[in-house]
Point group: C2
Chain length 144, copies 2
């Protein structure tokens, strides 16, 4: 999560909403992909940190299912990313700050709790919560 926090800081410096993500092989500990939000830079509304690392790892490994992969992300995934996590069959999701307005795991549509959800990863929320939330708060405060 410390690496994800560093990536979030890089995002903030680039004018991107500061969310960082790291995908690792949960068994070997090998780094599969890392990244941060790139919505503004790429002019891509889907370029959230989680989607980027899932795509990168899946393409690199040549498989659409990443059943041994654990995701570390500084913010609760939104509904789009939560559904992508489910499609990619990630093993575990560790997230930092909770997101009552935009989250899709513990808030809003609670994607993994839907009866039609095909795969529910293990979810651990609130990891390094204070630091993860602070980066976001500082970013939006400076923009106001």
């Amino acid at each position: 999560m410390h690496r994800a926090l560093a990536l979030a800081r890089t995002a903030a410096a680039a004018g991107e909403v500061p969310v960082g993500a790291v995908l690792v092989d949960g068994k070997s500990g090998e780094l599969l992909a890392e990244g941060h939000n790139l919505v503004e830079t790429r002019h891509d509304p889907t370029a959230h940190a989680e989607l980027l690392v899932i795509r990168e790892a899946a393409e690199k490994l040549g498989q659409t299912r990443l059943e041994q992969a654990d995701l570390y992300v500084t913010l609760e995934p939104c509904p789009m990313c939560a559904a992508a996590i489910s499609f990619a069959r990630l093993r575990r999701v560790y997230f930092g700050a909770y997101d009552p307005k935009g989250g899709g795991v513990d808030h809003g549509p609670r994607i993994f709790e839907q009866p039609t959800c095909h795969h529910r990863p293990e979810v651990i929320g609130g990891m390094e919560e204070t630091a993860c939330a602070e980066i976001l708060r500082d970013f939006f405060k400076a923009r106001r």
Copy 2:
């Protein structure tokens, strides 16, 4: 929708789940992007037709919001794509077949009805429903 159906047939021939999508400027009628599911070809669990056309159009236009864009897609969008449609601020979504198992608009998490959903497009479901559903049914029947 006829163009989206043709794209779905192309997808089926390539061994991809046959869903096609076309994004047009709702005012000028200009084609912004078109595509079909490429999950298997690209080894990308997020490469649904809707996400691909949104990304292509947004990058081409250099903007993350596509407020004049109308999407034609042969299947009810899943929760991931529905959330992406909301982020991209699409004006209208016309879809063909309903998807009780995997849909996220009229089924499952009903993304656009969530109080935390920031943008709800106009939605017209069931357009060319029979033809759209038939392509999917034939595809899965042949695979069994």
